[in-house]
């Protein structure tokens, strides 16, 4: 019985880890990068006057 509990804990943790992977994917947003797609150069840093 204790084997079943521990195996369930292990599988449950990794299920959570897969869930965290999905959550992190949501945080960084969809991947719009495709091979050969031109991406405009990043803007220069903006000076902030004090």
């Amino acid at each position: 019985m204790s084997d079943l509990i521990y195996l369930a804990v292990i599988v449950g943790f990794f299920a959570l880890a897969f869930g965290l992977l999905r959550a992190c994917e949501h945080i960084i947003g969809p991947d719009t990068t495709a091979a050969g797609t031109p991406v405009p150069p990043a803007a220069e840093p903006v000076e902030v006057s004090s």
Binding site: I10, F13, L20, T33, E44, P45
Partner: protein, 581 residues
Amino acid sequence: MSGAAWLQVLALLVAVAVGTRLLGPYLAAVFGDADPVDGDENPRRAKAPGDRFFEPIERFIYRLCGIDPDREQRWTGYGASLLAFSLMSVLFLYAMLRLQHLLPMNPTDAPAVPSPLAFNTAISFVTNTNWQNYGGELAMSHLTQMAGLAVQNFVSPIVGLCVAMVLIRSLARRRVSVVGNFWVDLVRSTTRIFLPLAIVVAIVLMSQGVIQNLGGFHHVTTVAGASQEIPGGPVASQEAIKQLGQNGGGFFNANSMHPFENPNGFTNFLQIFTILLIPFALTYAYGRMVRDQKQGWVLFAVMAILWGASAALAMGMETHGNPELARQGANQEVTATQSGGNFEGKETRFGSAGCGLFAASTTGTSTGAVNCAHDSMTPLGGMSPMANMMLGEVSPGGTGAGLYGMLIFALLSVFIAGLMVGRTPEYLGKKIQAAEMKLVVLYIVMVPAAVLCFAAISVVMSSSKSSILNPGPHGLSEVVYAFTSAGNNNGSAFGGLTGNTNWYNTTLGLAMLIGRFFLIIPTLAIAGSLVRKQKAPATAGTFPTGTPLFAGLLTGVVLIVVGLTYFPILSLGPIVEQLGL
């Protein structure tokens, strides 16, 4: 400290610097791209020394396992492969531990490992922690040691190395979505780095007296006429990868204090060197792969400063001795017949300074091997390894884990610097934005939350309090050390705490899982975000990250973040204990 101790430190520094310079370029060649990758979803791999020898072996493994070595993965695919591999590893090792009494190569008739201990041990070795709630020579069969634990000693550090390589590639590549192929990285790390190094180190260790056999217990009669059983086993092969992969799990319960694991001063020096070699060499590989060597040297310097400070504290406190013993009139000076200092829990052949140096190296690198009893160190001497682990294993950290941990702190540092001067933070030309910072915060908060919550519950529950040997601040240190060690995947034990209970086996196991995979996933996500980005050209307003100023800022950020998190608990444990002496 004695002249011999200073000489040992100096020789170690030289050896690590030379080793970094020699191994670093090789690591970069094994994992790097041939050309700068800009928008190319099929990057070419760099040529590496030994390709003609290793490639046929690797092609055979790829064919056998159905791996397409030319197909790269996005970070989600890479992460899913890593999690699937780790899940299968835990389940396989758990089954082996539970069934070892039915399997061959069990000359000592080791029984099945109880389920809570099997849970803890399987997780411990898969997460590169190697926390051991058992005595290896009594609890494990030779088959378990070789086909279970030693296999994980190879692949668990490689998982960390793979994650570090993904993060480096994300900084080196531009406007792509792919970060590498987990299965290819796994195979190449094994065949080209860990197996060759482990074979060489094992042979050197055997030449110095570390045993390597398949024998069981040898019954002998001692000089005094008593009867004694001396265990045998494949120790040298396990010892080599134990240190090279920052694993730390000893074949024997006494770990690197045992003369069959660590027979003399030279093997002690070699073990410290092998512990430090790959984590420091990875900083050079990092500089080479991002094509800016100064970036690598900055990380090397910060890691070396943190490691050196920790070693100085531990060695200084241990060689200074115990003030209470000094008041009782005990001689703790270095003399011709004693190595001096606080000698409780020390091995005569290594001395107090050797203990401090080993402790700083083993806890700074997520190794967790010990050559002295950390529980017997002076309070501040014992705080040194604990604080080392609280840094998050970045001084210089485990294989790969140290480097990606330090890179996470680097991202936080440029963000803080950006806030101070009012500029959009950049690291190596990649803009650090809200998504990356959310993931950095997730990374930094996860382990302290697990460590402090589990420790807090353990010191109020009567069942878990009964496992604590010493009362007062030292008892608190025992509990906090255990969860810090597990949560940061170090594995060293302070001692004193009876960890082989249902509560500690389960909660320490959970802390190890959280400390490993809940950090790897945000790291991979950060890599997935960075790899898509264009590199902004450096301008007059760009904060340079390859300078001593940035090294100072990074060191300060690491110390402040960790200090704010853990100082209260350190005050209640080792600091108040030292003040009470």
